[in-house]
Symmetry: C2
Subunit: 354 residues, 2 copies
């Protein structure tokens, strides 16, 4: 069937990732008549902007999904477990952005630039990785292919919208209050976001000391690269940024590389944009990467000691785009041979607002 | 002479670090009559709070310094080069917080908890390390002594007041504007601070790719620990925080350690405070560490692979206190056997304002 005839459901359409999926489809020119925004009964009827048009949100039901050719699930894991497998059984292609199926060996966990080959011809349900994993591996993949990676140390600078639109509201409200000498109690996060940073709010595993976000990075990276023993040492941190996750990464390589080869690898790699101009002091920042599709990489450095080669990078990726909605649509494109995620937004800056 | 008779000059008294030195001396009960705030002719006459009193700033001259027993230089490197050696020659004990003498083998570079032994009995001029170095090494020293450290990877989350009080004004002004949908051009930093992060603004060394802040961390750590070949891979980043530098650190150890021994090492070490309660989700944050003397450490993790033991920590230290003014006064205490930096502020939280 021609791509413009595809009926695509967006489950959790009123959330941060759902809205991003809608704007990507609108950017790609997919007809509004073939986009079906679904949400809980609470949000049913809510108007949603779609390019120049406005769509009405319908209630998420099995019937609504059965009428669609594909569905992007941008809801919680419980909703995904309840509706996704059944929809896939009815023949709907489902890409789930929740953690529900990421560890399920029967469900491919895919970043198209990295492991598109994991998409079997009979896959009907595919898991979208955690945003931090997708941003990290998209940036490291060209280096892994060229040199092999034996170890990763990564520290993140994660935006509050990783916790949804409510995170942005809390950041603004608490920041406005702080500027006026007031304080507003935290609802979304355990700490105040205003002029503060704090390690990721997800629960800590008492045995290893890693929080859940850090364990996702470890487990999903090992699964996507099929390297079950790879050592990954993540520290995940929230910063008072509205959108875009930044990462400071060091990776040990199996084989050596020189500075200019590293630069050209990064400049040529799919899904990446090298932003690194020491002369003008221009490097990736969240404001520069916000609302854009490519992962911005910069500050490439190479350190050699005791025959160990370590490269370091500074990465900024829009976690609502490549970290979530864009990657999901790219997976769909790979499965269908379509261009739903056709990239018109890549080369002009977009506003930080989601 | 009794400590209360010591005349102490604060050079650059109107700046962020100078003001911090004054509040530490006032906290310690040093008599106002024996504190001499000095600054450029531009700031001469400016009133400065000192506990319940107000001090008048005098112009920095060799004569003014000659009348003092000790001087904390919290000015730029040029001012330090011009006035510090001469003051030391006249018998004034000088602790310089600038970068002017940090690489000078004739001038000790000291963190009292780490290398107080570098203070010769005839030292009259001592260099205070860069704030990031002091915060990092104070936190790592107990681990180095117990296990040996063979390699450090550190990513920083540095407050805007590292660039002085003007950095705080720019952060507030740009944030207020962003909340109102306006934007204010940057003066202090190359990028907007509002809801943004960016790699440190200091110049990049084109050969290694490290910026100056990162090279300070490398060079000063090697000098203070006397480990000229130690591999250190820093990535220094600014975050929209008013004060307190945070650091995500991984260090490879020479000998192994278990989780409970690591915790008790950190809990017992001088100058540190272990804040790590997964049950309540309480870890170090800038707001929690602001205005306080101890370096807050948390999130201890141990990773073992290929016989390599790597520990990871999350550290928050007030760069105006232990990162600058407090360390300088502690050096003076070590040289004089005094208690100018006597710690009254350590166990109650203080406001974020500098």
């Amino acid at each position: 069937m021609p791509e413009s005839q595809l009926r695509i459901a967006i489950v959790g359409a009123t959330g941060a990732v759902g809205r991003e999926a809608l704007s990507l489809l609108a950017e790609a020119g997919h007809p509004a008549s073939h986009v079906v925004p679904l949400a809980s009964s609470r949000s049913a009827g809510a108007p949603l902007p779609y390019g120049a048009c406005t769509l009405r949100t319908s209630e998420l039901t099995s019937e609504a999904l059965a009428s669609c050719d594909a569905a992007i699930f941008a809801a919680d894991a419980e909703t995904a477990r309840r509706f996704a497998p059944q929809a896939a059984e009815y023949g709907c292609l489902v890409i789930d952005n929740s953690s529900a199926f990421r560890a399920d060996p029967a469900v491919p966990l895919v970043i198209p630039e990295v492991n598109a080959d994991a998409l079997g011809s009979r896959s009907r349900l595919v898991a979208n990785p955690n945003c931090s994993t997708t941003i990290l591996l998209t940036a490291l993949e060209p280096i892994r292919r060229a040199c092999g990676i034996t170890r990763i140390m990564v520290s993140t600078y994660q935006a509050v919208s990783g916790a949804g639109l409510a995170g942005i509201d809390e950041l603004r409200e608490q920041t406005r209050a702080a500027l006026e000498g007031r304080s507003v109690p935290s609802k979304v996060f355990p700490e105040s976001c205003a002029f503060n940073v704090f390690t990721h709010e997800s629960p800590i595993d008492l045995e290893t000391g890693f929080n859940l976000e850090e364990r996702k990075l470890i487990n999903e990276t090992r699964r996507i690269w099929n390297t079950p023993d790879l050592e990954i040492i993540p520290t995940c941190v929230r910063v008072p940024v509205e959108r875009v996750h930044s990462q400071s990464v060091s990776a040990e390589l199996r084989s050596s590389i020189d500075a200019s080869s590293l630069r050209s690898l990064l400049a040529r790699a799919p899904g990446l944009e090298l932003i690194d101009d020491p002369a003008t002091g221009t490097f990736p920042t969240p404001l520069r990467a916000a609302g854009r599709n490519p992962i911005a990489v910069g500050r490439p450095r190479i350190s050699v000691a005791d025959q160990r080669i370590t490269i370091s990078l500074w990465i900024c990726g829009d976690q609502l785009r490549k970290g979530a909605a864009l990657n999901a649509l790219q997976i769909l494109d790979h499965m269908l041979g379509t261009t739903l995620a056709f990239d018109r937004g890549a080369h002009h800056a977009s506003p930080v607002e989601s």
